[in-house]
Symmetry: C2
Subunit: 440 residues, 2 copies
Amino acid sequence: MTVVEADLLVRDCLLFPMDGREPIRGACLAVRGDRIVYADRPKGAFFRAEEVIDGRGKAVLPGLVNCHTHAPMTLLRGLAEDVPLDVWLREHIWPVEAAMEPDDIYWGALLACLEMSLTGTTCFSDMYFHEDRVARAVEEAGLRAVLAPGIMDITGPKLGEELLKGAVRLAERYGPSHGGRITVMLGPHAVYTCSRDLLERVKEEADRLGIGIHIHLSETEEEVKKCLSEHGKTPVGYLDELGLLGPRTLAAHCIYLTDEDIRLLAARGAKVAHCPVASAKIGTGVARVPELLSAGVDVGLGTDGPASNNTLDMLETVKFACLLHKAHRRDPTVLKAREALEMATVRAARSLGLSGLVGSLEPGKKADFVVLDLRKASTVPLHDPYAAVVYSARSGAVEHVFVDGEPVVLGGQHVRLRADEVLEKAEEKAAELLSRAGKA
Amino acid sequence: MTVVEADLLVRDCLLFPMDGREPIRGACLAVRGDRIVYADRPKGAFFRAEEVIDGRGKAVLPGLVNCHTHAPMTLLRGLAEDVPLDVWLREHIWPVEAAMEPDDIYWGALLACLEMSLTGTTCFSDMYFHEDRVARAVEEAGLRAVLAPGIMDITGPKLGEELLKGAVRLAERYGPSHGGRITVMLGPHAVYTCSRDLLERVKEEADRLGIGIHIHLSETEEEVKKCLSEHGKTPVGYLDELGLLGPRTLAAHCIYLTDEDIRLLAARGAKVAHCPVASAKIGTGVARVPELLSAGVDVGLGTDGPASNNTLDMLETVKFACLLHKAHRRDPTVLKAREALEMATVRAARSLGLSGLVGSLEPGKKADFVVLDLRKASTVPLHDPYAAVVYSARSGAVEHVFVDGEPVVLGGQHVRLRADEVLEKAEEKAAELLSRAGKA
């Protein structure tokens, strides 16, 4: 008889391995240290575990992975609504961002980490300024993150070099030898906010450090037009010309793509972060996700910043992704529940270069997982596991969340952060920030 | 000094009156018996109340109104997913519905009432068979409902007369003298499932009883094509020709409308139930809601049946409505947060002919309201009340729900239904039903 020694065992659950296997009823998930040691039906194995969670009526999923956000923007959530994109940015967001201080970044990110934890996200990919403060929040919250310090040189090369230097410093601090839950990418903001020189410098440094690049790409028609007129190429083509389009490139949005762009993204093995909620809300358009998936591009889902979403709720994003593409194509067979859930787990992990570690529940992977309570009015009866999780379960069903085998959320409560303190401080910081920016 | 005598007082809350006034901070909602007696800033009034709820950090909204659903279909939720509409109906839904018994209707509806209560819906408009069983569930759950027994004569006039007779009987039982929380409409299913004769009979009976008509209208392109070829008119035009288009007509979906249809709907004062989530999910199309609103048509939001949504969560529907139309028009200014919330409260009540009773929080109206906890990670900081409720708050924020001044949900728990029993029985009924239908 096989004996499985574990620190933690979830037994009798509905397991979503997301490793190619379909959901398994009556399954066991066993964890030893920070790793999964068993994820299957018991098959006669004997489990010796320190702690046991009764999984009856529960779904166990890989921790959700948010591929694109700007976590500290929680402080700006609801600042201006239902206005045109340029008004939103120029009159509201940018003036307030200009007044943001590192401490705002920290509290905004901590609030984001609280929300993400409570809604089942265990890993997120962030792009913002002062990512060292986001890193601190991530460590305190017990989450996993891929942090991309924003880089641009709209005011001249000095700014670009300064931001790049800071980003490289962070990348070196959280390099492979660090071994923790944080990795770093370089975050050139976009082709229209970074000069050709700066993009080439970014590529140089990313190659030297062996790390990825996270960039906004082909988000609006204006961006594409401008790039075509200035560089004679689409943003995707231009990025490829500069050598920045590779398997470690994470391109956020990719809404306006030509067939050739899709072919290029696939050929280079570049990844795409699709943010359906925010793109819908700010009216930028509907990305060609079905074509990207058909071409074999790894598309992960993201919420985008909480100021343009206005949540960091990945279960909401997974459902909305299905709804948006079905509505847009007028075809209910487009973007099936399973595919969308893959885009928030296993495909998302691949998009972030973390597929060796997270994104699926199989022995050897990190024990990042979520326990959902399916004994709820919206998920009974349970005819279809994927449909139950994607179309019916809402974030209120998130009961426990583990990262690296350690509890982050138990019984719907964050075990590492004092939620009340985070809410209060974030509120205080937001009020001070608005007052500094002359918006209060 | 004004003294307000009340049974229940919610004080110091963020009140959403939805009666034309903007959200009010530091407001009081006072209830006496089943009616609201005060809904404003205290303005020096003195409140003497039996029970007091501390409203600090809470939003108080009118109970949400779901304008179109088929509540008992909870039992069929997740039965078949991501398949074409005709496959879904012909191969999955209809065969199982044919095997449904009145007791299935009751338990399915009770499960729906449980879910609606917990997610802040206090009133819903239903169309299904055996609505007497839905009525029983509504009464037990303590909700308010407008029930439309489904009527059709696809198999011949005998079926039509039988269903109409049953509907009339229910309407007489719950007539104006009943004075309870249930009202009845007649529910001719659609122009393609009801003969001209039957529709005329429905109108006759509705006029005689002084009640409304709830019908699916212009939901698919096929329906419009068929109607044009058979009757030489669009479904809206055809309904008008038969005299069925009036201020007491609630037309669900209205996705494929001509400009003339919109003009007719507005001219006749007909109401529209818009179900964005289900229509997206089954790929039927995007209704011309902005044009309907501009034309002055009262459009209320609905979830549609839980088998095609797959929730009955109106907060989700409100957000999704905004996202869908903004994405569809590529315009963030379309369908603003306030407008969408109106479509789930005051406009929805108008759509159901209940605007004298519910849909807004003002003295004299029934005390149907929801208390949302906004001290949550997704709703802090609170820069914009409408955005907080529509874009950030999820149904997990629903704390208390009152109908007719009586508690239905307190602290997130249903106080009238034993949730565990409802889940268990619904599960059992669904399993038996599938087995009877040869689907288990």
